[in-house]
Every structure is written in structure tokens, then in C-alpha cells.
């Protein structure tokens, strides 16, 4: 019996998120982090040890970028990282336009694009069928953008996430494989209290 072909999003999607995401984010304690759904939320839970500087979504699909904008405007003293996936971002891609008008210097958007809806069974998403989210971010008016799809590009993406002096958008293309196995707090109210206690010192 021959094995079924390996799932792929195409030749540009070769990085493994298990190693590429930690490499591009670096020390996660340098950021306040909002995690989009599923894969990206698990990546961030693993990276932060599901810690108090992290608020991860498991619903309200499409909310991550705008939640990050509200947080970034409220906390100009901190770098805010939104880590989301291609499916989550596509659901409210207009948020990129809203963000670019405000252009907070402390907001970083990392889209971990695997070209698939991993959580629902790896159906193909628009991005592996030709939609380019970096081009949409450019069209929305975000000045600092880059795409990372090779090992050698990781340093460029990591530098932009740390050093951009306006809102930046980094598209990280990865293979459509599972992220880290991690348990994370799923209660949105408990997560809210944890985040505020940990980052503001009040519930």
C-alpha cells in the first residue's frame, strides 16, 4: 500500500512552526501578547508557558488584531504582539485598514500562515490558493511588512517585530502541520483576570 501524499500548502510553505515561531518571536516576556485561534493560540501558549502576559482566544474569530489595537493604544509603554493565523485574519481583514490609520508604534502583527484551517480538519484556506496577506497589509497602508518563508528570512522577521517604529506586519509561512501540544486556559473571564493581575496589578 502506498502512503497518501503529505499535506502541503505549496513550495513556499516549508518552515516548521514548532521551531520557526519561537525563532521569530524570541523572548516572549518582552511583549504583551494576544493570540488568535487554534494554531497561533497554541504557539503562543507554549511560548509564554500560558503566562500572565498572554490572552488567547478560542472564539470570536477575527477579533485578535483589533483586540491588540485596543491594548496597544492603552499600553504605549509596552510592545504588543498579535499572533494570529491566516483563517482568523481573513475573517476580519478590514482590521488591517483600521490599524493602519492609527499606526501605533508599539503594535506588532505576526500572521502564522499555514494555508489551511488546521483546527477544523486542514481544509485549504484562501492563502494557499493565491491570496497574499502581506499584499493586503500593504494595501491597507501598513508601512513595515515582510514575508518570511525560509530559514534565512527568520532574522529579518525577528528584527522587524522588535525594532519597527510603527505598526508592523510579518507574514510567516509554515507547513500545514500541528503546533505544539499544550494545555491552555480556555475560560475567557479567568484569562482576563489573569492578564490584568499580571500586567496591571489589578483584576
Amino acid at each position: 500500500m502506498s502512503k497518501p501524499p503529505e499535506r502541503t500548502a505549496g513550495p513556499r510553505y516549508t518552515l516548521d512552526r514548532i521551531t520557526a515561531v519561537p525563532a521569530i518571536v524570541g523572548d516572549a516576556s518582552d511583549f504583551l501578547i494576544i493570540g488568535g485561534l487554534a494554531g497561533a493560540a497554541k504557539d503562543m501558549a507554549a511560548l509564554t508557558n500560558d503566562g500572565p502576559n498572554y490572552y488567547g482566544l478560542a472564539g470570536a474569530m477575527g477579533a485578535a488584531v483589533m483586540m491588540g489595537l485596543g491594548l496597544a493604544l492603552a499600553r504605549p509603554d509596552k510592545k504588543v504582539l498579535v499572533a494570529t493565523g491566516d483563517g482568523e485574519l481573513l475573517m476580519n481583514v478590514g482590521a488591517l485598514a483600521t490599524v493602519s490609520l492609527l499606526n501605533p508604534p508599539n503594535l506588532r502583527i505576526l500572521c502564522i500562515d499555514n494555508g489551511h484551517y488546521g483546527e477544523t480538519g486542514y481544509q485549504k484556506s484562501h492563502t494557499c490558493l493565491g491570496v497574499d496577506l502581506e499584499q493586503m497589509a500593504i494595501g491597507a497602508g501598513i508601512k513595515a511588512t515582510c514575508s518570511v518563508e525560509k530559514e534565512a528570512d527568520l532574522a529579518k522577521g525577528a528584527k522587524m517585530l522588535r525594532e519597527a517604529n510603527g505598526t508592523c506586519f510579518v507574514l510567516l509561512r509554515v507547513k500545514p502541520t500541528d503546533g505544539p501540544k499544550v494545555k491552555r486556559l480556555m475560560d475567557p473571564a479567568a484569562s482576563r483576570v489573569r492578564f490584568r493581575l499580571g500586567t496591571l496589578g489589578q483584576p
Binding site: L32, I34, Y55, L57, G59, A60, M61, G62, A63, A64, V65, M66, M67, G68, L69, G70, L71, A72, L73, A74, R75, N92, G94, A95, A97, T98, L101, L102, P188, A189, S191, R192, F195, R196, T199, L200, Q202
Partner: protein
Amino acid sequence: MAATMTEDEHAREISSGWQNELYDALRRHDVTQFSYVPDAGHRICIDRSIADKDVHSVALTTEEEGVALACGAHLGGKRSVLLMQSSGLGNCVNFLSMVQGGRFPFLTILSMRGDFGEGNPWQISMGQATRPLLQTMGFIVLEVTKPAEVVPTVDAAANMVWKSGQAVAILLTQKLIGAKAF
């Protein structure tokens, strides 16, 4: 021949007094993020937020963005308000699950269409569904029908939101703002 007005002309007919009081009350309660999709009923509040150097005025592409913005603001210790037309509520519903499930304090102010004297049949459905929809999603709904009620209602809502941690919607009814002529 019946007089017709543009949306903007209609808004200018509305007394600007209570709208300025509304903005001042929100600022007194330390709201520093104003989000909105352009709307004639909220015109003065929106314009004042744009002119106010001490607040962030956030023009949205769709109303649901303002729900997520407010939750993010709360995580950062700031207060946000979403200004929208009743029709915009329909664009928000799934995001309201974050407000309810996360028990985020949340304030939205809706300029009503389709509730009293509406002349545009497209507005009736969402206008009539606004209150039951909000209540289904766990909101406390406060209604304003007279200019004198505006500030006391904002004061009441602010306490319920930022002291008691509730989600509150203030409805600026068409009895207050008038029905646009068609």
C-alpha cells in the same frame, strides 16, 4: 412636494446640545478610546473625538471591530466606547460572546433606526431586533427618549460598566433623535 434631507442635513437639524453633553459625560468618565462607523446620529461625538488630542478616535470598517477594541483596551486598563447605529449591532453578535464569556466591562451607545417613525423599510428589522438581541447576549439596556435623560443615563451606565463590570447598551431612540425623512 415633501422636503427631503440628506443624512447630514438631518443630523444638523438635531439639537446639538445633548450630543455635546454626551461627549463631555463620556470624557468625565475617563473614556479615552472612541470607536465608530460614521453615523449621522453620533456625528458630534465622533467629530469631537477626532478633535480631542487626549483620546484615540478609531474609525472602524465594521462595528464588530469596536467590540474587540474595547476588550483590548480593558486588558490595558483603559476605557473605550463603541458608537454605532442599531443596524451595526447585527455585525457584532459573535464578538459579543467575548464580552459575555469574558465578563468584560463594555459600553456601547446606539443611535436607533427602525424603532419610532422609521421611513426606510431596510432599517425596521434590525431596529426591532436590537433590544431583544442585546438582552439575549447578556446586556443591560438603557433607553433615552428625552434630552434631559442623556447625561444621567451615561452616568448610570458608566457605574454599571466600570464599577459593576457589566455590559451596557444605551439606546438613543428615535423619540430623542427624530426619524429621518425619506
